[in-house]
Every structure is written in structure tokens, then in C-alpha cells.
């Protein structure tokens, strides 16, 4: 029975020039990377481009990867760093363009009103959106930690290694992020539990 190669074997094969190994790495992690970006930034528009940028960086740096962390934790770190850069860029953009900010808000409200009359599936999409929007109200450090924990099921130790922070910091950030989210989604939970 043929078994799929593990991450170490894929990295070794890529270093020897096998691009199929890189394709396998991308296929293995592309969904997770895309969703980490989506949950962290809260919009779908940039997901394709930023995911592509993550894997281009992986392609360029894989030759130097030392396996001092797991491959996925290393890839997620690249994704998280890109998201942090993007959050900073957005802050600057927001600061310089109040007009842009207002327009986006009005467009969003218009879309929500249009969708409110649609089917259950759309309603379900709106509810998902409520969760993603609540995530956006957290500070980026809390948002990233809770995303890695809840979406990726990473242990505290893995999160600490991925983000280069202490396990204690992970504990406290997850606790605070949850408290904040529970407050933000209080009505939502009343309805769904």
C-alpha cells in the first residue's frame, strides 16, 4: 500500500529539485492558510493574493528551512506575519482615507440589507459573517492566537512556538479573546445554544 510522504520527505524531495513535492505541500496547507488569512483579516477579497504570497515565500525559503519547528507551524508563521503587515497597512489606509472607510461601511450595509431577504443559506452565511466580524473587533494579537487555537486546534505550546511568545502569554491571550468574543456574540449565543 502506498502511503503519502510526510512533510520532512516532501521538503527533502523539493530540495533535490522535485517540484511535485512543492505542489503537494501547497495542496496540503492551502486551505488552512487561506482560512487563517480570512479569519484574521475578515474579508475574502485579499485571500487569494495573500495565500499566493505566502506560498511564494515558502517556495523561496524552503531550501533554508531547518525543521526546528514543524513545517505547518513555519508556514502559518509566514501567513501570520503577512496578515500583521496587512493589518498595519490597513490602519495607515484608514487613517488617510476616512472616505474609503465610510464608503465600505455603506456598501456593506447595503449588501446585508439585500441579503436579508434571501434564502436560509444566505442567512447562514450572514451568521458566519457575524462571527468573522466579531473576530475583527479583537486586537490583532488576540485574533491571531484565538484563530490558531479554535480553527487550527493548535496546542498552547505549538502556538507559542509559531508566534515566538511564551506559553503564559498564549494562555492569557486566549482567555481574553474568548471573554471578549463571548461578550460580542452574547445575543448570537442566546439564539443558537
Amino acid at each position: 500500500m502506498e502511503h503519502s510522504p510526510d512533510d520532512f520527505q516532501l521538503v527533502e524531495a523539493f530540495r533535490k529539485g522535485d517540484e511535485k513535492a512543492f505542489e503537494e505541500i501547497v495542496r496540503r496547507y492551502q486551505r488552512q492558510v487561506a482560512n487563517i488569512i480570512y479569519l484574521t483579516l475578515g474579508s475574502r477579497e485579499e485571500v487569494d493574493d495573500l495565500s499566493q504570497e505566502v506560498f511564494i515565500r515558502v517556495y523561496r525559503s524552503l531550501g533554508r528551512f531547518q525543521f526546528d519547528a514543524s513545517l505547518y507551524s513555519w508556514i502559518y508563521r509566514i501567513a501570520v506575519n503577512l496578515c500583521i503587515d496587512e493589518v498595519r497597512r490597513r490602519r495607515i489606509r484608514k487613517a488617510v482615507s476616512l472616505e474609503f472607510f465610510t464608503e465600505r461601511r455603506l456598501e456593506g450595509e447595503k449588501r446585508t440589507k439585500e441579503r436579508a431577504t434571501a434564502s436560509d443559506e444566505v442567512l447562514n452565511d450572514e451568521k458566519k459573517k457575524v462571527v468573522v466580524e466579531a473576530l475583527q473587533k479583537l486586537s490583532p494579537v488576540h485574533r491571531i492566537v484565538i484563530t490558531l487555537r479554535e480553527y487550527e486546534d493548535m496546542s498552547y505550546e505549538e502556538i507559542a512556538k509559531t508566534l515566538h511568545i511564551s506559553t503564559q502569554a498564549v494562555k492569557s491571550r486566549i482567555f481574553r479573546a474568548r471573554e471578549e468574543l463571548r461578550k460580542l456574540l452574547k445575543d448570537y449565543f442566546k439564539e443558537r445554544l
Binding site: 492551502q30 479569519l39 499566493q52 523561496r60 463571548r182 445554544l193
Partner: protein
């Protein structure tokens, strides 16, 4: 009695990050505290909702567009590096040529004549040095050097 609720421990409980002893204590508390049981339920529900919300998928050809872009960037880097290398080589070659021309020009150019005044009055006039040094007027540096060497 809110202060009696082990709120931070509940978060660790949900994540299986407690020691055996801590877990046992929290379980005992949960058995008698409805409010904390509700908190645990909310935290678990939150996890499910976040997973549900993460429904983004990338296009089927994503992997190929990554490879295409990565190769294009690599090619651009190679072109840039070879252009840079070529430019560096051109600068080095031109510098060598300029230095060689300047050096050759200096070597081949005849020394301009210099004016020599008689300052060795007692030098006999039948020696070359005497003739040279005794001469009022311009002579070349080469002749003067030769005269000094033969003296």
C-alpha cells in the same frame, strides 16, 4: 459569587491544558455550578462557529498559479543578477582600460624641457655634466639624468 468561578481555568479546561489535579477540581466545580457549565458550553460553541465560518477555499489551479509566479520571480531575479553582474564586469573592464591608457600615456609622453641654471661653476666643461650644467637654456630631463649618472 462570581469571584468563586474559576474563569481562566475554564478556558484551559476546554483546551485540555490543565494538569490532572486541576482538571479534577474544575470538574467537581462544574458538577455544582450551572453558570460555569454554560460558559463551557459557550466556549465550545464558539469553537464550532469559528470552524464553520472558516469556509474559504482557493481556486483549483491555485498551486499552478503559485508555481508560475514563483518561477517568474526567480527568472526576474536571475535576469537582474546577470544584468548586475554584466554591468559590474563592464565597469571593471572600462576602469582597467582607462588606467592602462593613462599609464601608457604618462610613460610615452616625453618629459617637457626644464630650465637649468649654472650652479656647478667649477665643473670642467669637457665632461658631459659640465656641458649640460654649463649650458644656459632648456634641456630635457632625460639628458640631465644621463649626465648626472655618468658623472
Amino acid at each position: 459569587m462570581k469571584t468563586n468561578h474559576p474563569e481562566q481555568l475554564l478556558s484551559l479546561y476546554v483546551d485540555n491544558e490543565l494538569t490532572g489535579e486541576e482538571r479534577r477540581e474544575v470538574s467537581e466545580h462544574l458538577a455544582s455550578c450551572e453558570s460555569c457549565r454554560l460558559s463551557i458550553e459557550e466556549m465550545r460553541a464558539l469553537r464550532v462557529r469559528i470552524k464553520e465560518a472558516a469556509d474559504v477555499s482557493l481556486p483549483d489551479n491555485f498551486v499552478y498559479s503559485v508555481l508560475r509566479s514563483a518561477r517568474r520571480e526567480d527568472e526576474n531575479t536571475v535576469v537582474w543578477l546577470s544584468t548586475e553582474k554584466l554591468a559590474r564586469n563592464v565597469v571593471v573592464v572600462l576602469s582597467v582600460v582607462v588606467l592602462a591608457l593613462v599609464g601608457l600615456g604618462t610613460f610615452l609622453r616625453p618629459e617637457p624641457p626644464i630650465r637649468v641654471d649654472r650652479y656647478l661653476i667649477s665643473e670642467p666643461t669637457d665632461t658631459l655634466a659640465g656641458q649640460v650644467l654649463g649650458t644656459q637654456g632648456e634641456i630635457s630631463k632625460d639628458v640631465m639624468v644621463y649626465a648626472v649618472l655618468t658623472k
